[in-house]
Each structure stands twice: as C-alpha cells, then as structure tokens.
Amino acid sequence: MINRRHFLTTVAIGTASAAALAACGNGGSSSGQTGSAEKPVTINYTWWGNDDRAERTRKAIALFESKNPDIKVNGNFTDFAGYWQKRATEAAGGGLPDVMQWDLSYLRDYGQRNQLLDLGTVKIDTSAFEKSLLPSGQIKGKTYGIPTSTNAFAVYYDPAKLASLGIAEPTGKWTWSEFQSFLKEVGDKGNGTLFGSTDFTGVWWQFNIWLRQKNIQAFTSAGKLGFSKDDLKTWWNLNSKLRGTQALVPEDRVTQLKPKSPFGSNVSAAEVTWDNFMAGYLADSGAKQLKLVPVPSDDPNNLGLFLKPSMLMVASAKTKFKDAAARFIDFMVNDPEVGQIFKTSRGVPASKTQRDGTTFDGADKLVVDYEKSIEQYLKDAPEPPIVGFGTLEASFGRIASDLNYGKLTVDGAVDAWFKEAEDLIKQNA
C-alpha cells in the first residue's frame, strides 16, 4: 500500500503542516458553547473503519442523541490510511473535527503541537478505568486521549493443528527457550507444510515486552532510546539458531502470502501479536478455534505485559463545544449500552462500567478472558510512543526481514536500525 507517491504525500503534508502549525499558536476560548433541546449544537465526530464499524457507530450516535437532545452528532468516516492524510491537512487548515477516534502512534505528534484538547480540563469520568492504562493517553501530565478499549500482547495458537501433530497445548507458563523448543517441535513434525511461527524477534512490540521483562524502558521520557545496541543484539541473536529451520516460516513465504499473515493462511501453528487480531485470524484461516496464552518470560513474575489502548477518543483543541465533546466522549467510553453495540470490535472495553455491561460470547469471550487472566501481571502502560514511531516500527520489521533473508548479519542489522532510529529522533527533536 505504501508507494512512492503516498510517501511523498505524507512527507509534503507533514512538512507543510509543521510550517503552518508554527503560525497557529494558542488561541482557544475558555468557555464552550452549549445547546438546548430546541436549539441543539452540532458536533462533528470522525472515525476510521469499515462498514461494520460505521453501522455500529451509527447506532451508538443515535442512542447518544436520544439521551442528549441538546447535542447532534454529525458522523464521518474514512479508511485508516486516508484518515491520517486528511487529519494532517485539516490540522494545518485549522479545521480538525470536534471529536475524533485516535490511534496511539499519532497522539504525541498532535498533542505536542497543541492540536488536541487537554481532556483533564473537561468533565470525563475515568474512575472505572484501570489505573495502569491511563498514562498511555497522557503526555507531560496532560490527558489528550481517553482509551475506548484495550488490547494485550499474546501468543496465538491453533489447537487443532497442534493436535494433528500430536503436540501438547502450551500452558503459557514458559521461558524463552521453552517457547523456542515448542516452535522447533512444530517445525520438525510439520515437516515443511506447517511451521512454528514467523520470526518473533522481528516484532517490535515483542522486543518491547522483552525489554520490560528486563526492566528496561524502550524510550526514555525525554524521547531518546532507552536500550543499547547490545540489548538489540542479544534480542536478534536469540533466534539465530532457529533462522533457516522449519521452526520459523521462511521469509520468502511470508512475502508471498501478503497481505495475509502466515498464521491466517494456515502456514504456521503459532503467532505472537495483539489479542484484537482474533477476529481477523479466524476469518482468514477458517479455523474453528484459536487460543491465546501469555508471552514467554525468563522471570515468571514479570511478563512485561501491559494493556495498550487499541484506540482513543480525543477532541480538537479548537472545538467550540468543549462541554458537548466531553459528554460525547464520556458516553462513548463509559456507557454500557455502547459496549453492547460495539462488543469487542474496538478492542476489549477499557472502562469497567462498560465492560461489565457487555455480554461477550464466542471469540470475544476468549479475548476478554485472556485479558482477565493476565491481570496480575499487568504493569503501567508506556507513555505514548515518540513522534515518528510508526516509521521506526516499520523499519524494525523490514530490517529483521532482511536478517531472515540473510542480507544482513545481526551486527549489521543492529547498526542499520540504530542509525535510522537516531536520525529520526534527531530530526524530530
């Protein structure tokens, strides 16, 4: 999807918006306008997503309007990639919608440029939220985003495939080497038709969790890298014996299967990723059942796990209807009936009030139960990632893929990634 033109567009928009933003500055009014049932105010709400989400959101908006006759909500939506091009242009033109669905990786970028409303200044009830979750919407003490829902990192596996190979299902209490021997066993018995998983060391978030298990922060609060080259070397060397064996899906195979994943294409028996991929994996693979277990750790008391907001609700700093925006956000994140409308299609509801008011069944229940089962291991979510994090995450995967192709040695790969990361951090400093 990302071609040269797309890239240029993003760069152009980014540069231009930065220039335009510098001219904008702070000039928000202190009091928001309010409406009445006879003369309602209209707020704009925008989100990304497919047909299904549009339908659910429409229901939620109708419910909100019936409960709040003094506010009308005008809903718009686009696809994910276009969403951010549009927001960048609007931010430069000063026309961001009043309330927006937001992604964690863009929060710091827009928050630091004073494009988003400090939600600490308006009335939104966050008492039903997991305390460890809220920092992920905050930057330097200001709350820019309220999580609608959460996801957690997990190891997926397909019980039917393991049974067909005669391999016992994992319990989720395992060390890294136990996890690796599990992958090796699948690869050996699968004999070229079924592999263990993709190279998990190429997944940024898995690396991040591994760092957390060693009590290292991936990024310092000053926005610098919190780990050393040696840490990354150790991480990528972890799989050096498995690369090229049937424990890992060969890299050319991974590329051939795109845009689907090897796990979704029934080529591997396990995969490490976020638990909200469940519905997608079930649809892609056609498997009857998929299960989730916690990630491996050499320290059984520290799994490094945390809840990450799968999406957030934010408001524009320039909105004229702060009060109405706050009431709408509060409704969308806390109302139990909204939970019943969305189920887990946004992720597991973050607010306990909303979660308890929602009935989960089938695959939804598996994901909710998984997040409940890891509750005791959860630690504070990291602060929103640094500006340009998306690029770093992508290059992490790309360089790891070169590593698997054998184009780079571990040392070379580490140097290549650090160079990109340091350049990027310098640029955005």
Binding site: L8, T9, V11, A12, I13, A16, S17, A20, N44, T46, W48, G49, N50, D51, D52, R53, A54, E55, R58, N74, N76, F77, T78, D79, F80, A81, G82, Q85, K86, T89, E90, A92, G93, G94, G95, P97, L257, K258, P259, K260, G264, S265, N266, V267, N276, A279, G280, A283, D284, S285, G286, S310, M311, S345
Partner: protein
C-alpha cells in the same frame, strides 16, 4: 531432434531451394509473423493477468483470495461479493457512490473542455502583451508538484466555507486549472493552418465566431483525448475527494473502495475486488466508445479535406 540434425537431401529432380526465392520468403515471412504474434500474445497475457486475476477473484469467497491460494478459479464460484458490494457502506448505497463519481467526472470533463479550449485559443491565436510570459507561467505550473499546493488550497477553501462541497474539486477544471490540457490544445491549434482564420476574418468573423465555427470542429480529436483523460483522472482521483469531502454520502467510488479493507479489523477483499470490477466498467465503456476518435485524430493529424 534427430530429424533437424540430419541434412536435408534434395529430392531427385527437385529444384534447389535457392531457385525458388518467392516461396522461401513467404515461409520466412509467415514464420516471422507467427513469432511476432506469439510474442505479442504472450506479452498481452502478462499485461492482462492482473485484470484477469481481479475478475476471477471477484467471484471467490474472501477466504480464498490471496494467502496460500494460488489457483485462479475457485470451485466456490458465487456472486456473493457483488451482492455485498452493492449493499453499500454505512447506510450509503453503492449507487450513490457511482452517482457521485459520475457527477464529478462529467463535471470535470465539461469544465476542462470549456475552459481549456478557450484558453488555448487565446494562447495560440490572439496576440496580446505578455502572451509568452503567461504561457511560460502556465507551463511552469506543470512543474509544481501537486503536494506543495495541498495545504494552501485547503486553507483557502476552508475559509471560504467550501469544504464538503464539490466546488473545490471542480472549480479548477472550469478555470483551466489543468495546464496539461491547455498545453495539449495549444499545440494542436498551432498545427492548424492560420489561413483558415484569416479567410474567416476577411469574411467578417470575430474571435467568437472563429473559435466556435472554425476551431472547435477542427479540434475534435484533441477535445476527445482531453475528455478521456480528464474523465479517467477524475474517476480515479482519491486524494482530492478524501481531503475535501466529509460526509460519506458525498464520497465517490475510490473512497468507498478503501472502506472494505480495514487493517484494524477483518478485511473484505472479496467485496473490494467486486466493487473494483464494477468501478472499472464505466471507464472501460467510456474508453471503448471514444477510443476510435483518438486513432482518427492521430491519422488525420487534425486536418480534413
């Protein structure tokens, strides 16, 4: 293999091949032509394969598209994807998306034809002070990357309160904003003999008369190629509508297409591909109707009888 290796013995009484140059050159020609056609056919297959893949995939269930599945045709042939595609998105019917795309495309064609031909006439036939400077400036806008003007343009239209209308998408077409088409028509007009206008002028025709009665009919090939291109460009435009339209019921097809693929949830590739096939049809029909005029335009070089 052995037969080709053994030298051919000339049959007794038969003339040597060299004595019959005519028949030999015919076979050689035929062989050449066969090879040429085979190669051309092969290339066509390579070029058309993605289109074939798209059409074939439109009839497959979503789970059989991409991934491990390499076969072109599926045994689970069905029209389900088309049904899903026609259902629309988020309460907006697919017909609405088609209508919006058509309004935009036809508006673009009409606007471009009207404005570009008039501007081209001015540049090619009227001598006015600073003509070459203005012409140079117009050509220079071709060199200006579109992305540089996105933000300023957006700010202008936003301040004018024209965001979420079709005005920002069409106004440029009515103001000869596409320098490429103006340039194309200027070049075309310069090739038309000046004697034609001179004769008209002697008969007492003014610029309006010369333009409508002499130039426009002669420019038909240029007008047709312009229509085809501006129709296709507008039909395929994604970024413009994305930035300027907010309400889903004003979206054209390219925006709607993207809504079937959602990275954060499950993607319905089947419906997206089915919709792509449907979206392709109008452009294809438009092209088929008008393509013979392009060929005609090239062969007559814009001059008739």
């Amino acid at each position: 293999m052995t037969t080709t290796a053994t030298p051919v013995q000339p049959a007794p009484g038969a003339t040597a091949p060299a004595h019959n140059p005519k028949s030999e050159s015919t076979t050689a020609k035929r062989a050449k032509s066969t090879i040429f056609h085979a190669a051309a056919l092969l290339l066509t297959c390579v070029v058309l394969y993605p289109a074939l893949w798209m059409i074939a995939s439109a009839f497959k269930p979503n789970s059989e598209i991409g991934g491990q599945n390499t076969s072109l045709w599926s045994s689970n042939f069905s029209f389900d994807n088309f049904a899903t595609a026609m259902d629309g998105i988020g309460g907006v019917s697919t017909l609405q998306f088609f209508t919006n795309s058509l309004i935009l495309a036809i508006g673009a064609v009409v606007g471009t034809i009207l404005s570009a031909s008039v501007s081209a006439y001015a540049f090619a036939r009227i001598k006015f002070p600073g003509r070459s400077v203005f012409f140079g400036m117009m050509i220079a806008t071709l060199l200006l990357p579109f992305h540089v003007v996105i933000i300023p343009q957006y700010i202008i239209f936003q301040q004018l309160g024209l965001v979420d209308t079709y005005v920002p998408l069409l106004i440029g077409k009515f103001l000869a904003g596409d320098a490429f088409f103006v340039f194309l028509m200027v070049q075309f007009m310069r090739n038309l003999p000046a004697e034609l206008d001179e004769a008209a002028r002697i008969d007492g025709a003014g610029h309006v008369r010369i333009f409508t009665s002499i130039m426009l009919p002669l420019m038909k090939p240029a007008l047709i190629s312009t229509s085809i291109f501006s129709f296709i460009w507008s039909w395929n435009d994604f970024l413009g509508p994305l930035l300027y339209l907010n309400t889903p019921d004003k979206y054209p097809l390219p925006l709607a297409l993207r809504l079937f693929v959602d990275q954060t949830q499950s993607s319905d590739y089947g419906a997206m591909i089915a919709m792509s096939v449907l979206a392709l049809l109008p452009v294809l029909i438009f092209f088929l109707i008008f393509q013979r005029y392009i060929v005609e335009g090239v062969s007559t070089q814009g001059l008739k009888g």
